[in-house]
Symmetry: none
Subunit: 203 residues, 4 copies
DNA sequence: GATGAATGAGCTTTCATTCAT
DNA sequence: GATGAATGAAAGCTCATTCAT
């Protein structure tokens, strides 16, 4: 990149990663060219293949980063006795925080995975289902403890919960909006949760 | 009458349309080949170009059908004195009914337009924004008449509403679920609306 | 064409012919589409194939008309005792008169045959060579009777003669100029001939 | 040094250039396939696109080489006090020398540009007109200094001059003739000029 | 005769991937 | 590690030609 301080191996891989994020966000996976990514990363395109097997695996690496963070989030949630409200709040926070840090990562997840049947491999779908069902287990717990109404299937409430969350993010993605600071992030999280909890609360 | 009841002109165009719906749903717009579509429609691929200028305009025709129905739905809603609940219900119904009739159409809208920045042309984005803002006007009306809480921006509530709706559909799309009959459709519509209205109700 | 007076067979063939002239002139043989020609002729494109075997033979028909006129011109020249100046003048006149009547015909001959190796079939080349050699025989006759200098090969003088003639026409073709009336045609013919005869005259 | 002396970058581009010259000469621009050119150049056809944007620009590169040489020739002519005969001789020489070196280049210019309205873009036509008018300025100078007769428009004499020149070359092109050595080239140049100067001389 | 829907070979162009240097 | 020249499969699109009506 710069003449004076050449990137270390790990930095270069990261540079490619970031470049891919940006390009895939802008053009979509199919229209993103390896040469675009290389140019964005400031390297020759042949070099990408030293760090990533091919375009697909570069894509997988991106998706993996999303899932790793998310599943780690669930590790801190599942099987604990923290209140259901807090668990849901943590799920919301993971989405919003990641969006704050790397809107592109969330965008790619939203556009290329969570909505696209086209890019779905077996692996990707499995992880997606796992995510849904882990969320559903939190919702179900909420029904068991009497926080959420039990007259709807947990899957329905899960859909509504994740849908509202996803919609916020998608709208911001489409509009190119950034979350400005932690305060705005909190407002969004709170209104999201409150409407959901209120709407779905047991009575 | 005829030996094997050949398709009329309009039917042939419709056959291509349906084939495109199916193929694009399965493979996504970019991986969908014109030759796939032709094969699915049972015609030679050169013929597609008699009915549609190119791949893009075939795609546009698909999207147009979605928007036409939706905007017609809004024509019946906006500027009338029907209750806000009914208006929201009609929006939900349009989505679910269309999904019932043609899951592929809804799928394509969901995956290729409402979530994808890559396929967004100016025209497509404009229609999308129009849709959001018409929905928002219904939500805002709900706030004015005291049905919905006014301490959130109408745009927030709109996101939550559309997000929940969209999520239901996306989940069904991903899982390949069909809506089985009008009864199930009603159940979904009602639970969706009730949770939203309850969660967002003024107090 | 018109509802009231449908074209006779011969007229329709002529209409196609004229349309082909115009389209090929404008776009060149390769870019001229049969559908362009049909549209120009006011008929459906399938009908062209009732009158002409295929695109190539339509092209041949055009070229044939040129050659027929030209060879008829030579029939009136060769083997007669008319002065060489008159003979040359007749060759010039054929070119200019045809250009006056149908600039497109001359244009096609000039651009697609007399200059293009690409469109040269054996047949076409043979007729072209025949044309050159008949002209050369007139030039040679001029040398024998002492009108033209004999220290150059007849082929050289032929080239100069035909080149000057061709150049006039090509320039007019490129510039889209028409010959305005017989008077201008005469002026051109005379200056052409005078310069040539004077330059090539025996001394 | 190297195992089999691979072509340098510049050589490879030149190889494609030469291959294109040959193929376009044989088949014409429209029938010349990129794959033909690649095969002729001994490379894969994808590689052509590393060196030339597309077929059109490969064509333009060919034409550009012709014009560059020609306009350079005029640079050495215009605005100098060299005799008009010498100037005309230099124009003739450029054509004949180029033909000697690269008959294909001259052929393509002659067949695809100077005679074809089909391949004429605005740019190409402009350069062509520039060429005509620079020649005309030399002719006009000849009229002013009393070398050439002034009772004809300079444009007429220009047509005759360029026509004779062009015709020689076209005839050789069509017949596949080569200019054998400088001596033959001189003979052609001299006879061409003498006939023209003599025919057009002032008296 | 007349139409234009239907066919499919054939072309240009793109771009992921490889590999010699 | 780094480069970018080289490859060639793959896809969109065109259009001459056929043929059922």
């Amino acid at each position: 990149m710069s003449k004076k301080s050449p990137l270390l191996k790990i930095d270069k891989e990261e540079a490619i990663f970031e470049a891919a994020l940006k390009i895939i966000t802008n053009k979509g996976f199919h229209k993103a060219r390896m040469s675009d990514i290389a140019k964005q990363a400031g390297i020759s395109y042949g070099l990408i293949y030293h760090y990533f097997k091919n375009k697909e695996s570069l894509f997988d690496a991106i998706i993996a980063r999303w899932w790793e963070g998310l599943f780690q989030c669930f590790d801190e949630i599942l099987g604990t006795d923290m209140p259901v409200e807090t668990k849901l709040r943590k799920i919301v926070d993971y989405h919003l925080c990641t969006y704050q840090d790397s809107p592109e990562l969330v965008n790619i997840f939203t556009t290329e995975i969570s909505r696209s049947t086209a890019n779905l491999t077996k692996d990707r779908l499995d992880r997606f289902k796992k995510f849904i069902s882990m969320t559903e287990s939190v919702i179900a717990e909420g029904q068991q403890v009497g926080l959420l109404r039990s007259d709807y299937k947990p899957r329905y409430l899960t859909n509504i919960f994740l849908g509202a969350l996803d919609s916020f993010i998608s709208t911001m993605v489409l509009a190119g909006q950034k979350i400005k600071g932690d305060k705005q992030r909190n407002t969004i999280a709170e209104s999201l949760l409150e409407v959901f909890l209120n709407g779905a609360k047991s009575r």
